[in-house]
């Protein structure tokens, strides 16, 4: 058997780890996840990696391939440099084992999103135009691979920001709800005060790694920033607050809480 494929995989757990190098035969048409599976079946049965659909639809097999955040199932081996492939776990999240990281930060952030709260359903059902749902549909393509979270420099090397930063994945979720034709909730103050929207300085790294090609920065984050600014720093509202001594609303006051 000719060993003409070299792959270096990070092995270890929360206590530390190292790179291990493997030699395999190159097989035409494979993606990186195929190679990892082949390693498991032939050389290292306990190599940990997460995966489900192997079709770019579930967002489970996120990793960093030659330093670039990507889905292993969507990265074709023949498109990578010939000499060596390096696969490491996502750096922004704590390691569980090998290529598997603890992504619970994202599930915690999901819990903090004030729920969708539609206007009452009219007789004959809701009506929405395609053009109005299309904006939200772009964000709902998200497969929650968390590569955008992984690449985002606000939290990538700054764990301390995780407590007050929702990250690109959830900015598109907020944008989707804000732009939903039926939603009645207001999440703008929450975004400004607690979700760290201001920390994003639109470097567009998230957009670049998104496997669904969602224009995260242009279509979600920037419009959200504009809406938040509109709500928070509108000069007319400012005059109103000063003259009428109205306090600025807290996120909780601003949001219409949905019925449980």
């Amino acid at each position: 058997m000719a060993s003409d494929l070299k792959i270096r995989v990070w092995r270890g757990d929360s206590t530390g780890g190292h790179f291990e190098e493997y030699d395999l035969e190159r097989v035409e048409g494979e993606v990186v996840l195929d190679v990892i599976h082949r390693l498991q079946a032939t050389q290292t049965p306990d190599l940990a990696c997460r995966w489900n659909c192997k079709a770019g639809k579930c967002g489970s097999c996120s990793a960093e391939i030659n330093g670039r955040p990507a889905l292993m199932c969507m990265t074709r081996v023949e498109e990578l440099p010939k000499d060596l492939i390096t696969v490491t776990p996502m750096r922004t999240f704590p390691i569980i084992r090998d290529l598997v990281t603890d992504v619970s930060f994202n599930y915690e952030m999901a819990k903090q999103v004030p729920a969708f709260n539609p206007s009452p359903e009219p007789e004959g059902g809701y009506r929405m135009q395609q053009v109005d749902v299309a904006r939200g549909q772009e964000f709902r393509k998200c497969i929650e691979c968390f590569l955008c979270q992984d690449v985002c420099h606000v939290i990538r090397d700054h764990d301390e920001h995780k407590a007050h930063y929702a990250g690109p994945r959830f900015f598109i979720r907020y944008a989707e709800l804000e732009m939903h034709p039926l939603d009645t909730n207001d999440r703008r103050e929450l975004l400004r005060q607690k979700m760290g929207l201001g920390l994003c300085n639109i470097t567009k790294c998230c957009t670049e790694v998104c496997p669904e090609h969602i224009k995260i920065t242009d279509n979600a984050i920037i419009p959200l920033k504009e809406r938040v600014v509109g709500a928070s720093y509108d000069p007319v509202a400012w005059v109103g607050r000063v003259v009428l001594r109205r306090k600025k609303r807290t996120p909780d006051e601003a949001a219409v809480q949905p019925a449980p």
Binding site: P45, N52, F116, Y126, Q137, R140
Partner: protein, 606 residues
């Protein structure tokens, strides 16, 4: 006193599985105020439901006003070759429209009609355009909507946890379950008077499959071992259009929407061969020339349906026959061609994720070249025998919904009926489990000795020296099942499979795994083998007994349907104790007799 240490918690309702059915069930029991736990083998939101592309079938009548539940019911029964549990098909057709509208109220964004209602598309076997959809990523929309709903309700979710056994008490009632956390390898027990199985399918026992590693038939096996019955396990759907080439996309499904939007099947001679495979049952409503078929796409009253849109089993068999006759592609499939029939702009708009997926994964541009496709193991119609109205199994407190449940789809499922099945019966399972708990059911204390035994068996492969690798056993099992219990079956091969499965049981008993318990995929696979083996045995036994061809079950030695066989389900049980090595009893039992009123629907259609 237990030997092994486990962490333990108590609930009213435990839902095993976080796909569409599990999440929908959890919404229901949580809404009723019951302490609900969702246990899932993967992360939340990754379930196989995301793979569903085409849509949710529901007779809403938004595109064709003539559509109604009776037509949907009739399509479903005929698609299933009348083997369906008619009551399930009836409830499904009646309730699906409300389940879709409800998703919209929870935030789903379906594609719209010009007047702002939910748009519906055509699909194989459905008389009218009936599938509510979001481009070709409807499953993702469904799972995300339900996931967000469940999160907003504050439901407890335990992720990456494999359930090893449903525990019952001395009276045979559900008491809870035992499993392990995949990240840590720590064992866990949960007590609850009711468990809802929503574990999905079994595809991983076959070689060519669209299913992920999770689809190992856990729920089927857990139910059987706990004393419930399985039916119709021989009825497996091979999706006609799975990619066979390139390798990186092998097994990936091409949505039926491609055919609904004008895609046609051609063999290596370029012939549009489906016209040669129209069964008598469908002749009246299927076009008999290319001219007529092509008129249909724009106006359904201008011509009859193209034969490419026959039910899945018909199309899969036709492709199989073409390939066997030597008219296949170099990689053993046929061509699915939409490139020569529709503009690139049309294809990109109607099938965005198909286009994107093939472009990125395989470098195949579906707007300029045909796809190489062939039948791929996709879905099991058979499953846990349940009561139609309640999703209740024979075991008190045990319910099953979604793909793991049997009966709804008969011998063959129509595309789009799976997502609606999840919603309709997920909700019903949640309601029935809640009724059961509110009716005073309580969980008996877990049998500590039993828990220890389950854990002992689970860790045995880690302690064994010099046994066989789980990957080797799995690969051999997949090849054996594909070869002997695949799309076309015959008596001698099925007998060979039965014998081979006895040997596999011995091999599984000797499996050995390297490494520890924390996130060890080899060990995880070893603990999935018993359930794969159990479902493989049931499928083989069902296929041996069903000496006819019907829907997703084709016997070369009995090539036609047999009216007598159409009146029975083959029911599997383990009366002398549950386990992958224990005996399975298979008996025919009469199917549920349809009411006279519903029968008239089929007479009218004639």
């Amino acid at each position: 006193m237990a030997i092994h240490e486990t962490s333990h918690s108590e609930y009213d309702v435990i839902v095993v599985g976080a796909g569409g059915a599990g999440l929908r069930a959890a919404v229901e029991s949580t809404r009723r105020g019951l302490r609900t736990l969702i246990v899932t083998k993967s992360l939340l939101g990754k379930a196989h439901t995301v793979m569903a592309e085409g849509g949710v079938a529901a007779a809403m009548g938004n595109v064709y006003e003539e559509d109604n539940w009776k037509v949907h019911f009739r399509d479903t029964m005929r698609g299933g070759k009348m083997l369906n549990n008619y009551r399930m098909a009836e409830l499904h057709a009646q309730e699906a429209p409300d389940r879709v509208r409800e998703l919209e109220a929870w935030g789903a964004l379906f594609d719209r009609t010009p007047d702002g209602r939910i748009l519906q598309r055509d699909f194989g076997g459905h008389r009218y355009a009936r599938l509510a959809h979001v481009g070709d990523r409807t499953g993702l929309e469904l799972i995300r909507t339900l996931q967000q709903k469940v999160v907003s309700m504050g439901v407890d979710v335990v992720m990456e946890c494999k359930v090893l056994e449903i525990l019952t008490d001395a009276d045979g009632k559900v008491a809870g379950c035992v499993g392990y956390m995949r990240p840590s390898g720590e064992f866990v027990t949960f007590s609850a008077p009711s468990v809802i199985l929503a574990t999905g399918g079994v595809g991983k026992a076959w070689k060519y499959t669209s299913n992920s590693w999770e689809s190992t038939g856990d729920g089927h096996a857990l139910a059987l071992w706990a004393g419930a019955e399985l039916i119709d396990m021989e009825c497996i759907q091979f999706h006609p259009t799975g990619m066979v080439w390139p390798l990186s996309v092998r097994g990936l499904l091409v949505t039926e929407g491609v055919r609904g939007d004008g895609g046609v099947l051609r063999n290596s001679t370029g012939e549009r061969f489906m016209f040669n495979y129209v069964a008598d049952m469908f002749r009246a409503e299927t076009a008999d020339s290319e001219e007529e078929a092509d008129k249909w796409y724009d106006d359904h009253s201008a011509g009859r349906r193209p034969p490419e849109l026959l039910p899945r089993d018909e199309v899969a068999r036709a492709i199989n026959t073409e390939v066997k006759a030597g008219r296949g592609t170099p990689h053993g499939g046929v061509y699915l061609d939409i490139a020569s029939r529709r503009s690139a702009e049309f294809i990109k708009r109607r099938l965005p994720s198909m286009y994107h997926q093939f472009m990125e994964l395989a470098g195949v541009d579906i707007t300029t070249e045909p796809m190489e496709i062939g039948p791929t193991c996709h879905y099991i119609m058979g499953g846990v025998r349940v009561e139609a109205d309640t999703a209740a199994t024979k075991v008190p407190g045990l319910f099953a919904a979604g793909e793991v449940a049997g009966g709804m789809h008969g011998s063959n499922r129509l595309g789009g009926n799976s997502l609606s099945d999840l919603l309709v019966f997920g909700r019903r399972a949640g309601m029935a489990a809640s009724d059961y708990v509110e009716g005073g059911a309580t969980a008996s204390p877990l049998d500590a000795a039993r828990v220890d035994k389950v854990i002992d068996e689970a860790i045995a492969p880690l302690l064994r020296e010099g046994g066989e690798s789980p990957y080797d056993i799995h690969r051999d099992l997949q090849e054996m099942m594909q070869a002997n219990v695949g799309i076309i079956r015959t008596g001698s091969e099925l007998e060979a499979a039965r014998n081979a499965l006895d040997e596999f049981a011995e091999r599984v008993a000797r499996v050995a795994v390297k490494g520890g318990r924390a996130y060890n995929p080899g060990w995880n696979l070893a603990t999935d083998l018993p359930s794969m083996l159990t479902v493989s045995r049931c499928t083989t036994l069902g296929a041996i007994n069903r000496t006819e061809s019907r829907g997703g079950h084709t016997r070369e030695d009995y090539p036609t349907p047999d009216a007598e066989m159409g009146k029975v389900n083959f029911v599997h049980s383990q009366p002398s104790g549950g386990g992958y090595r224990e005996e399975i009893k298979t008996v025919p039992e009469p199917i549920l007799e349809m009411t006279a009123e519903l029968k008239t629907l089929f007479e009218e259609a004639k």
